[in-house]
């Protein structure tokens, strides 16, 4: 269901080396490293959880240190796109970094939900660095109980 996947798969060392060799071969042919564009314009894709409730979907995403105004949520049909920018947390004048594995820069994530959602009723809350988006299903797509009349 992912349009843009989250890389967290198991490592296949042989495959990784082949990919690396291919990448290096490609680099030799390049005169300039192309800049990422479009859906690749990101430095990381955050991990997401999606829960399906009877009448809505709930999407949760870890976005620590990000301001709500730096997050952009867009919905088209059943495709949800989350993008934004994580600014550098350190203040200027703190150049002596010992170690750092936090991620900064542009992030983007696009997922396809199983059903179209009502884009007008979407609510998003950012609390303690976790973004929770409530996406109500469209009225006509909600599961309905159809009663069978005995004849």
């Amino acid at each position: 269901m992912n349009l843009v996947g989250f890389r967290n798969g198991t490592l296949d060392p042989l495959r990784e080396f082949e990919d690396l060799q291919e990448e290096i071969n490609r680099l030799f042919d390049m005169t300039k490293v192309p800049e990422p564009r479009g859906i690749f314009e990101r430095s990381f894709s955050p991990a997401m959880d999606v829960v399906e409730n009877p009448d809505s979907f709930q999407v949760m995403c870890d976005l620590p240190g990000i301001e709500i105004q730096d997050i952009e949520i867009s919905i088209s049909g059943n495709v949800l796109t989350l993008k934004g920018e994580k600014r550098r947390g350190q203040k200027a004048g703190d150049p002596d970094s010992f170690r750092e594995d936090t991620r900064e820069g542009m992030f983007q994530r696009t997922i396809q939900l199983p059903l179209a959602v009502d884009a007008g009723k979407v609510e998003a809350v950012l609390k303690n660095g976790v973004l929770t988006i409530d996406l109500p299903k469209r009225e006509e797509l909600k599961p309905r109980q159809i009663s069978v009349k005995a004849s």
């Binding site: 991990a47 959880d49 976005l63 620590p64 947390g89 170690r99 936090t102 950012l126 303690n128 660095g129």
Partner: protein
């Protein structure tokens, strides 16, 4: 020792972090702990160690259709050397990021020597 045995059995996540030193002799540690509330944090400084535990809510099994976010509490242990003043530790939690400021001992802080003119 008993406490350590329990810890190994529990699944802890290592949070992403950044450590830097400012020019005024302070160590800044930024630890990303999304989903941790202020009251669920436990920061302990003892035996030249700073141990940070961030507990999170563990929701009961939910109807996930995509489940990528790791579950578990956060644990990070930093070893503090002799240059750190263990009495001066300041911690702030904001937007899921814990910022800890540690003071270096006065004798190791960078100093500017004033030059007197005769």
């Amino acid at each position: 020792m008993a406490e350590k045995t329990i810890e190994r059995k529990t699944k802890y996540l290592r949070p992403r972090s950044a450590v830097s030193e400012s020019k005024d002799g302070k160590l800044r540690v930024r630890i990303e702990m999304p989903g941790v509330r202020k009251e669920d944090l436990d920061i302990r400084v003892e035996n030249n160690e700073m141990r940070i535990i961030g507990r999170r809510e563990h929701p009961a099994s939910r109807p996930y259709i995509l489940h990528e976010r790791p579950e578990g509490d956060y644990l990070q242990i930093f070893t503090l050397d002799d240059t750190v003043d263990q009495g001066k530790v300041d911690a702030v939690l904001d937007k899921g990021v814990l910022s800890i400021t540690l003071d270096l001992k006065d004798q190791v802080k960078p100093r500017t020597i004033q030059i007197r003119s005769e």
